[in-house]
């Protein structure tokens, strides 16, 4: 009881200054608010012609602030490396070779059938989302998640050996790092082409090179994202 009262007290004490502060912020969405008048108009005005992406969101996350996104994909990779490092082969000895599928209960026929039927369409959709990234506010992250979800669904209905064949051992670790590696490759290409790291040719007749580089990055993020999602799922389900 006292504990609950204390929690409520702390919440109120924290909430009051926060609400006061929020009340004094420039109104959200107002055309006069600094977020709408300072950096953003530049992106809106120049983004479509100089950033190589028709969509301004994509232009910002992959071009203007691409370095942040390189950091973000590394955060995702770090999360995966953390899961693998902590869960793989616990402190005591090496685990027995895994033979059974990660699930304990057999998967019903209906689930098997539906996943198999849907799989090609899911792949198609994810490829569409990834490749269409530079004209829509989506791209590698979303498409990669869709692909990753498919990999997870397939892992569930397949035997362990088949699922293993799905994610081949040799390039597996390379594919897991696909997103940061693609960023590095594209960044270095930019360095060679323009003299600046992660720079794309700005505007002019060579703008298609920028679009091509952005698409490569989207594909890298997509593959890497899918592999990371699937790897985390497989690693966490490995003991069960």
């Amino acid at each position: 009881m006292i504990r609950r009262a204390l929690v409520i007290f702390v919440l109120v004490v924290v909430a009051i200054p926060l609400m006061l502060a929020m009340a004094e912020l420039p109104p959200h969405g107002s055309p006069d608010a600094p977020p709408q008048t300072h950096v953003a108009p530049y992106y809106l005005e120049h983004g479509p012609e100089e950033a190589g992406a028709e969509n301004v969101v994509t232009a910002v996350i992959l071009n203007y602030r691409g370095f942040d996104t390189q950091g973000e994909v590394t955060v995702i990779f770090t999360a995966m490396a953390a899961v693998v490092a902590v869960l793989v082969a616990g402190g005591a000895g090496v685990p027995a070779e895994r033979t059974a599928a990660p699930t304990t209960t057999p998967v019903s026929l209906i689930v098997r059938f539906i996943v198999r039927v849907l799989a090609p369409f899911i792949v198609l959709f994810s490829v569409y989302v990834i490749l269409n990234g530079h004209v829509t506010p989506g791209g590698g992250f979303q498409g990669g998640t869709i692909l990753g979800a498919l990999l997870i669904a397939l892992t569930l209905i397949m035997s362990e050996s088949d699922a293993r064949a799905l994610l081949p051992q040799r390039p597996e670790r390379l594919l897991q790092a696909a997103a940061p590696l693609t960023f590095f490759a594209v960044g270095m290409t930019g360095l060679l082409l323009t003299g600046d790291y992660l720079a794309y040719p700005h505007s002019g007749p060579t703008i298609w090179i920028a679009t091509l580089m952005l698409t490569v990055v989207e594909i890298g993020i997509g593959i890497g994202g899918a592999m990371v999602v699937a790897t985390i799922f497989r690693t966490m389900g490995a003991d069960r």
Binding site: E24, H38, Q70, T78, A177
Partner: protein, 496 residues
């Protein structure tokens, strides 16, 4: 000669890419990942060295990634505070060398490539954090280093490792969230994420959101720095982690909170929009409390790594107090202590790691008499202990002397007293440690049969111990190096 401008970006992307390749390199044989990460860190160190020399010669410089101009693209800015990357590279390299034998015994073979990958990611996160000039970019690198930090604590596989890592994760996630909130408020007020740009545009902003933003930033960074009462995650995490990781966490990762705080000051003082007096008073008290409480808890520890972990809280207290004093001496002392404490604490943690590795024991009671069996390691630890107490002519003395001067300069002699009082406490428990190693009867005579640590462990420890002495003798070099940055920082306050 001016170095090639993109070098500042390469400083980050070289280890970043090196880290994600590490598991690929170590797929068939784990030892390859050790060699690879050492190579990556050495390459990074070369870049870092070029940049530090540059900043010493011409002062701060910046580079905007992607060929855009500053508020639109992401600006990396390298100033004297950023020179902490030199220490990050040094400790990172030595920790990787030290890990070679350590990891092979402490963890399963399959974990090792990921261990090195996480270690590199952690170091890269800190490097990026130290040199970025963009608030959101700062947050991204903070996440890389925090996430890898949590995992590195859990990776040791010891019994309470998961629990310690989980506690660390919860506190870390809350502090990250609080910092993100503050960044959001600053963006809402200025429409920009570039630190220099935010500084310029902050004038005339309403007071309440500003107060919440700077309060939140301070709170978040104080959790990262483990100031007393926000330290509760630190002792277990730092004591349980593998010893090379402890050295990195205690020596460097807590300093992220301090570097973050320095960036907060740069924005606050530079813009003149925020009155930091109240926050500074809080910081001074937090610092004084941390010094005394950290030392107090350390006295009662028998576990050597636990004791070192509490000692980190004390030392962070010195730094926080130096910052809060907002006087030039205090600020200089605090900034240099960021460097010096990193070296000293790494000496102690790696030394302790070598002792534990050779003897399998980790309490002072069990380790009694080990000084006769492992003379070099224990000598290095003793040098570290003398340094951390702050006895001249070692590295710890200059900083504490400056912070004490700063307290007097700022008109708070009481805090100078707290500092001396804390140093006395610290003296007691380190004397206890050195006494146990050299003069107490061994509890188990078998400890005298233990051999000296292998070269891959002993050499890093000895290098660090000699640096403790060198930094003490040449104490004026870092002081005069950091001085222009502090003067620039305090200029809006009217000199300082």
């Amino acid at each position: 000669m001016t170095p090639w401008p993109p070098l500042l970006a390469l400083l980050i992307v070289v280890p970043l890419t090196g880290a994600v390749i590490t598991p690929v390199v170590g797929r068939t044989r784990a030892v390859r990942s050790a060699n690879w990460s050492l190579g990556v860190m050495l390459a990074t160190s070369v870049i870092a060295l070029v940049l530090v020399v540059q900043v010493a010669r011409v002062g701060p410089f910046s580079y905007v990634v992607g060929g855009w101009v500053a508020p639109y693209g992401i600006e990396l800015r390298f100033d004297e505070f950023g020179a902490v990357i030199a220490v990050i590279c040094l400790l990172g390299t030595l920790a990787i060398v030290f890990s070679r034998r350590y990891a092979a015994r402490a963890m399963a073979e399959q974990r090792i490539p990921y261990y090195y990958a996480l270690l590199l990611l952690n170091l890269t996160g800190m490097i990026g954090f130290a040199v970025t000039g963009d608030l959101f970019n700062l947050f991204v690198f903070m996440e890389i280093l925090s996430l890898s930090g949590y995992a590195l604590v859990a990776v040791s596989g010891e019994k309470i490792a998961e629990m310690a890592a989980f506690k660390y994760l919860i506190m870390g996630a809350i502090s990250s969230l609080v910092i993100l909130l503050a960044i959001g408020i600053l963006y809402a007020l200025t429409g920009s994420l570039n630190m220099a740009d935010v500084t310029e545009r902050l004038g005339g902003a309403p007071a309440a959101p500003l107060a919440v933003a700077f309060g939140a930033l301070t709170l978040g960074f104080m959790v990262k720095a483990a100031a007393f009462p926000l330290h509760i995650w630190l002792p277990d995490a730092h004591a349980i982690a593998p010893s090379p990781v402890s050295a990195i966490l205690s020596g460097l990762v807590v300093k992220v909170g301090i570097i973050g705080m320095l960036r907060v000051y740069q924005i606050a003082y530079g813009s003149g929009a925020v009155d930091m007096t109240a926050l500074n008073t809080v910081l001074m008290w937090l610092g004084a409390l941390s010094i005394v409480m950290g030392a107090f808890f350390a006295v009662f520890q028998d576990d050597i790594k636990m004791m070192l972990a509490y000692s980190t809280i004390s030392n962070i207290g010195y730094i926080i107090m130096g910052l809060g004093l907002a006087s030039s001496y205090g600020m200089i002392g605090a900034s240099v202590h960021v460097f010096n404490h990193a070296i000293i604490k790494a000496t102690l943690f790696l030394g302790a790691g070598a002792l534990i590795f050779q003897t399998g024991k980790r309490t002072l009671t069990d380790l009694a008499g080990v000084g006769h069996a492992m003379p070099w390691t224990v000598a290095a630890i003793s040098v570290g202990a003398i340094s951390i107490v702050g006895i001249p002519p070692t590295a710890g003395f200059v900083c504490k002397w400056y912070i004490a001067l700063g307290a007097v300069q700022a008109g708070h002699p009481f805090f100078a007293f707290a500092l001396v009082f804390g140093a006395l406490f610290i003296f007691i428990y380190y004397i206890r440690m050195v006494n146990a190693f050299y003069f107490r009867q061994p509890r188990d005579p078998a400890i005298l049969e233990v051999t000296e640590a292998p070269a891959s462990m002993l050499v890093p420890v000895l290098i660090l111990a000699s640096l403790c002495l060198i930094m003490g003798v040449m104490g004026s070099v870092p002081l005069s190096f950091i001085e222009p940055a502090v003067q620039r920082l305090l200029l809006p306050l009217g000199g300082g």
